[in-house]
Symmetry: C2
Subunit: 457 residues, 2 copies
């Protein structure tokens, strides 16, 4: 019997995270404050604990993973690397397809890799309570899980419309002891103001971020901090354990190198987690196609400019140098909620600009068909975000067939879709759309970026 998956023992878990910033061919651009000048680390101190801020700005190549973090990660890590033999057979491809199964974590995605680390550093710094926002609920549940295991309080501001439409995600958070309330809420100044103006607002991620940050910075005890689940350098750093494990597992599978690396990309943390350790090899000269995948309806990487922009709709965050559709962009209602973000991580934007990675956009319908083919060959039901990585993998496997090449394709299976089955149902019923973004709408949205400094590497 040929092996289905490649496991590592807990003893072989990576002991250090990999920091791509140390190897980038050009220096990353710093975040800017409201005055247009680079912000200093201590300006972030009311928001994040200082040990996390140090990681955010670190240029060290390798950063030690604390034992306490490894201990919790070992609940599901090392995550198995699978060979997708039945999918290969269905496609008749000479390519060898591997996927890293991040859906085995208790919350069901890669998100806890950083949630656990962030909860640990907050606890180390003496913090008792963490606030955050969540859209569809993946991040809120990952952070509730992590806080539960470190004995921290967790308060999640969940976009009101999602709070009402996706009650099960909220119930997951509650089961781990997290407190989840709909945003806007009566508990913050921001929330009260918005409710006074529009009591029936469905809420937005921008509002929820504002509320979570306000909650953290206004706690006069100093025992509360805010936590973010993607985009920032330290979040991507914590995810690199994915790619570091994958490299060891490919060796176990007898592969000398990977030819194609694929991950779906919203804020960018799951893509970065798999891809960054491979980019180190690419920077060192190895040939490799590295492909972050986004929806055609939210084409941040493939059609938006590289510019300074706010990370949130409410303009509370520093300006980040990134590909952005403009922070007021309203993405269409695709099911991949985690890919409906106007920007993308500065480190990923940097890698696009320097030609290290080649983004790709794929239609929603093609992604769902890919996820159905995957479920019926490999057995796992994928999250709608993850389906984008599968669709790109299938494109690459077909290309390898046309070219007659035995390529090694690796993608990050970022999470299961058991909490998101409505999208499959809509797909089977023929109710889904691709929502391609018209050029005039795109132009109007990115025009808002003109007032910010240009991003120039």
């Amino acid at each position: 019997m040929e092996p289905t998956k490649y496991l590592l023992d807990e003893k072989e878990m990576p002991r250090e995270w990999y920091n791509l910033a140390a190897d980038l061919p050009k220096a990353p651009l710093p975040p800017l404050g409201p005055d247009g000048n680079p912000i200093s680390p201590d300006m972030l101190a009311p928001v994040f604990p200082m040990n996390i801020i140090e990681q955010e700005v670190s240029a060290e190549r390798w950063i030690k993973i604390p034992e306490e973090v490894l201990e919790i990660l070992s609940i599901w890590r090392p995550a198995p690397l699978y060979r997708a033999r039945r999918l290969e057979k269905m496609l008749g491809t000479p390519a060898r397809i591997y996927f890293k199964n991040e859906g085995v974590s208790p919350p069901g995605s890669h998100k806890p890799n950083t949630a656990v680390a962030q909860a640990y550093y907050n606890k180390e710094f003496g913090i008792k309570r963490i606030t955050t926002e969540t859209g569809a609920g993946q991040w809120g549940s990952a952070l509730s899980f992590a806080c539960s295991l470190f004995g921290l309080e967790c308060k999640v501001y969940m976009v009101r419309i999602s709070f009402e439409q996706k009650p099960f995600r909220r119930l997951m958070m509650e089961t781990w002891g997290g407190k989840c309330i709909p945003s806007p809420s009566e508990e913050t100044e921001t929330g009260r103001k918005i409710l006074a103006q529009d009591p029936d607002t469905p809420g937005s991620l921008g509002i929820a971020i504002s509320e979570a940050v306000e909650d953290a910075v206004t706690d006069t005890s100093g025992k509360t901090r805010y936590s973010l689940g993607s985009v920032l350098n330290h979040v991507l750093l914590h995810q690199t354990i994915i790619g570091l494990e994958t490299k060891k597992q490919l060796k176990l599978a007898g592969e000398k190198k990977a030819d194609v690396i694929i991950g779906c990309t919203g804020g960018g943390s799951n893509f970065a987690g798999l891809a960054f350790p491979f980019l180190a090899d690419k920077i060192a000269g190895q040939e490799m196609d590295v492909i972050p995948v986004e929806p055609t309806s939210c084409p941040t990487m493939t059609r938006a400019p590289f510019s300074y922009d706010h990370g949130d709709t409410a303009e509370m965050t520093p300006l980040l140098a990134m590909h952005s559709l403009g922070h007021s962009f309203v993405p269409p209602p695709i099911h991949a909620g985690g890919l409906r973000y106007h920007g993308v991580a500065p480190l990923i934007s940097h890698a696009i600009e320097t030609g290290l990675i080649t983004p790709r956009a794929i239609d929603q319908l093609e992604c769902y068909q890919a996820a159905v083919d995957f479920a019926r060959t490999e057995g796992f039901i994928s999250a709608p975000e993850t389906s984008h990585a599968i669709a790109a993998t299938i494109q690459e496997a077909k290309k390898a067939k046309e070219e007659g090449k035995e390529k090694v394709i690796v993608f990050n299976w970022s999470g299961h879709g058991l909490m998101d089955l409505k999208g499959y149902h809509a797909f089977f019923a023929g109710h889904l759309d691709n929502y391609p973004l018209p050029e005039d709408v795109l132009q109007k949205s990115v025009a808002s970026l003109k007032k910010y400094p240009k991003a120039q590497l």
Copy 2:
């Protein structure tokens, strides 16, 4: 760092299932037909393929697992064995607690262990289409998954009220290509009759079984058979891979023996899967407490007589020798849908009667509290059925503390609760009840058994 879990390589998967029937101190009682005489294997031929019927009546101790079955099982097997160190710490117990994680299968429970085997044997026998019933949906999704990977059609009759209340389980089945319809349906004689009498009936498992069996036996092409997810000998047999793996993993963990074996028990397949391979050692003289756990509201093993009874409400199945509350027993609406069954597997009933195992009943509220403690220490959210095994484990760990004994306790974590979060919400809101079964209701229900032959070992 102390190990969190014990993995086995795919090469170490057990190659044979263990058949407890070969080692029982007394001969098992045969199923009886409507005339009160033992039924012959060929009477079951229109319902099950002959290769499965042979397993059902086999007295061989070891039965080879086909390579094709192992290949699909390897998607998630060997399943990890965990040491529950944080739970131990919370309880301050000297006991070492281990749990076998069967929630890692794509459908999220132990059910696919037999679904895959049954799909394989049906395919081998030339069958193209399998019918079954499902209550809450665990079994229907496991069989849809298995049929998908073997290219078989799958038709699931789902109890109408569950079909309406639990749409996500149905969507899982659809994603794997299974066809799931509410029962009673217009597609069978049984369904049409019942709908004519009562168009608004919520349906029942008994009706759904009748429809699924009728569908199979009336297909004149001979290409359809019926499949059952628990109770029968061959189903329990296929689950023994759980306990066989666990024994190897306990050795890896440095344990010479297990002192207490625990599993929640409805029809009995997940309990049997873990416990039967250990019972072989107990029969050979090793001291061990083996505890199947049921809800106090459905006390089949702890308060019902050992008698012949039908496996279904509609009296279509042969008479089985088992502990039964009477096949017309209507269990209260506890959340552990998989434990709401009037009977329990004949092999388990036999083990109770011969003193090999000691059943225990636990209240719903105690089970939910145990599941919450487990989620907040070990990280995993448990199915409501599984919570019964956790509650018994906590009872045993506290007992070990009182006695000051370093016991080794092993329980089967039969599945995750991500599709069943409403129960947790009701628990936190204080809306749950224990529904203890009053003695007069019990007596009235078991009185129906008087007309059937006595079960006497």
